[in-house]
Amino acid sequence: MEWVLFVSQLLNGLQLGVLLFLLAAGLTLVFGIMDFVNLAHGSLYMMGAYFCVTLTSALGSFPLAVLLAVILTFILGIAVELIVSRHLYQRDHLDQVLATFGLILFFNGAVHLIWGPEGNPIALPDYLNGRISLPAGIEIPTFRLVIIAIGLAVAVGLIWLVTKTRMGMLIRAGASNRRMAGALGVDIRKLFTLVFALGAAMAGLAGMMIAPITEANIGMGDDILIVAFVVIIIGGIGSIRGAFIAALLVGMIDVMGRSYLDDFMKLIMDNQSAETASPALSAMAIYILMAGILYFRPRGLFPPRHR
């Protein structure tokens, strides 16, 4: 029974991890290539979820809605890049932080205006709403398995794109040396727009994956954005591989902390203090992890070779 729980928790950690990866991948690319701190990345995650809400109820089909919503978020990403982000690449990080915080406020206000303040649920079709029995009595909700599958598929696709294709070569070149990518004769502005929109679409997809579990909410992106930043910092800015490993690491630590920390703490202190200390400690866990990693590796686990 104990290890059944453990395997369930591993799967839960994996699911959280791939979700974080979807969000962090775009963030780390935009950051690594354009040197652009995009606080509004979480807003794109939120917008993806809201697009999906509206489309699901309009079309009556969740998969179709996801497909269209991903495209819509991609287009929104292009728009944001052209109207705001593009003008900020040459600015220092402070200006970027300020402007993209403005974007967060703007999107939160816009969603409040359009969809109202209440959370919006997404109804899943029956075939996604059930559970799947794995061997040895492990049961997991179907939709969580779907998230894991989609997340891993996107991860594999992205790593293929970055390591095996010409576009990927340009992206990597851009991440390690911006001037060089320009020298390779690419239209760097188009590449930037494309990467930004790709990141937006992945963030939007992550929002669509979580909304059927938690509802689409105003500010849902702000909450998770900080965690996504933790992921890319741990992984090393600009590194897809780093983002993937760090996302799984953070997902696992978060889930395992919530599952086992209180039992562990009870071994070393009395029950009462353990009950108070462990929630705080598990909330702090990822920050402690990040501070610890940065202490020993000030540029994360997998920093790109040259900047």
């Binding site: 209440e118 049961e139 909450d223 919530r258």
Partner: protein, 401 residues
């Protein structure tokens, strides 16, 4: 470029001028001014809007006057932040010079705002938040609650569990003061075994994915699950509880989680498993009092949805204020007279008659209610039984009033 800059300068200047101009002096007292601080932005605005709608409805039912005085209501948004709540309270009591200040969903906003309102000599009436401090040591002659003290509802639920012969329980609650109060409340009265307890992250980046906790609860072999997840976390929790299939094996007991705000969403998402789940509350839309019938039917007619308990408390609050103002014939300077009237709770409350304890928190009934379908197929809650009659909170004895 130049135009933009000039535009910015004028915006900034206008803002500064605006601060001075909008701060128009208060007029003489031919009005009753009521300040209402609640959350109108962020997802919690769902609660704030429900309260505001109910308060407006009450004003409509009263006819916009009390004791011949016109009612002026000023709503302010606390943005879910204690600091902003305090600032808005300062504005209401100092700039708008309101006579009563009410609203307050959140304990920390209420605690932060309390001194500003009370030091200015205003009546402060909480229409929701009921932190233990204000019921105990920090009780004040000019502070009243029209809701409840945090611990009462979960204590009633613990009692229900005992009555139903539940032997073991798994507790989940957010890791903040009210969440801890709720968990402590149910533990205080529940006599069986606590199989496990998870306090989950709350606040700005609250935890909304409960997969790990649900897996633990399932593995613990508990007979029942108790949760307190107000607002957006409630919907998320119930969904995952269903998706994990636990509704087929482990019954769910809740406080402040399955309510008029979340049920329509469950219905929209066709989560039938939530029907039949049990919760305790001081009030329910089907409670049989004349005032409640009038309130619920009018609310349904006007807004097309059932009112939540937040709405019920807010609706009550205006009638409560009216009883005080009429008792002194509209003489708003007669604080002592108004206070004496309020202490009697002599007004038609939607929950039926109740009384006030020394700490100005209600002594009232608590009911067990069940999520069910009404005659028109809408999901709502129905009363099953009375758990506590005239129950007083445990902190009243710490109050020196």
């Amino acid at each position: 470029m130049r135009i933009h800059k000039m535009g910015l300068i004028s915006v900034a200047t206008a803002a500064i001028m605006g601060a001075a101009v909008l701060a128009a002096p208060a007029l003489a007292a031919d009005k009753v001014k009521i300040g209402f601080v609640t959350t109108l932005t962020t997802p919690a605005a769902v609660i704030g809007n429900d309260m505001k709608d109910a308060f407006d409805l009450a004003n409509e039912h009263i006819g916009g006057t009390m004791a011949g005085l016109e009612i002026e209501i000023i709503y302010e948004d606390d943005g879910f932040k204690p600091e902003i709540g305090k600032q808005k309270t300062d504005k209401l009591v100092k700039q708008d010079d309101v006579d009563f200040i009410t609203g307050y969903i959140w304990s920390h906003v209420l605690l932060a705002s309390r001194k500003s309102a009370l030091d200015a000599g205003k009546f402060m009436i909480s229409a929701n938040a009921g932190p233990s401090q204000l019921a105990g040591k920090l009780c004040h002659k000019n502070f009243f609650s029209t809701s409840w003290q945090n611990d009462q509802t979960p204590m009633a639920l613990g009692e229900v569990l005992n009555q139903r012969g539940v032997k073991s329980l798994y507790i989940m609650s957010p890791n903040y003061a009210a969440g801890k109060n709720m968990a402590a409340g149910v533990e205080r009265t529940f006599k069986g075994e606590i199989k496990g307890k998870d306090m989950t992250k709350w606040g700005k980046d609250a935890q909304l994915d409960f997969s790990a906790e649900l897996a633990k609860a399932k593995a613990s072999g508990t007979e029942a699950i108790f949760v307190f997840y107000p607002g957006k976390a409630g919907g998320a929790f119930i969904k995952q509880y269903m998706q994990a299939g636990l509704n087929e094996s482990i019954p769910l007991y809740t406080v402040y989680t399955v309510d008029a705000l979340s049920l329509p969403k469950f219905q929209k998402a066709e989560m039938k498993g939530v029907l039949g789940s049990l919760a305790t509350q001081f009030w329910s839309p089907d409670l049989d009092t004349p005032q409640n019938e009038k309130f619920v039917s009018a609310f349904l007619a006007k807004y097309g949805r059932y009112p939540s308990f937040y709405a019920a408390q807010s609706y009550d609050t205006l009638f409560f204020i009216k009883s005080a103002v009429e008792a002194v014939g509209g003489d708003l300077t007669n604080m002592d007279g108004m206070r004496a009237a309020m202490e009697k709770a002599d007004y038609p409350s939607v929950r039926g008659p109740y009384s006030y304890g020394n700490n100005h928190f209600p002594i009232q009934n608590f009911y067990l209610r069940e999520a069910a379908t009404d005659s028109e197929g809408r999901w709502t809650t129905k009363i099953v039984s009375t758990v506590y009659s005239n129950h007083q909170d445990v902190y009243a004895k710490e109050c020196k009033l």
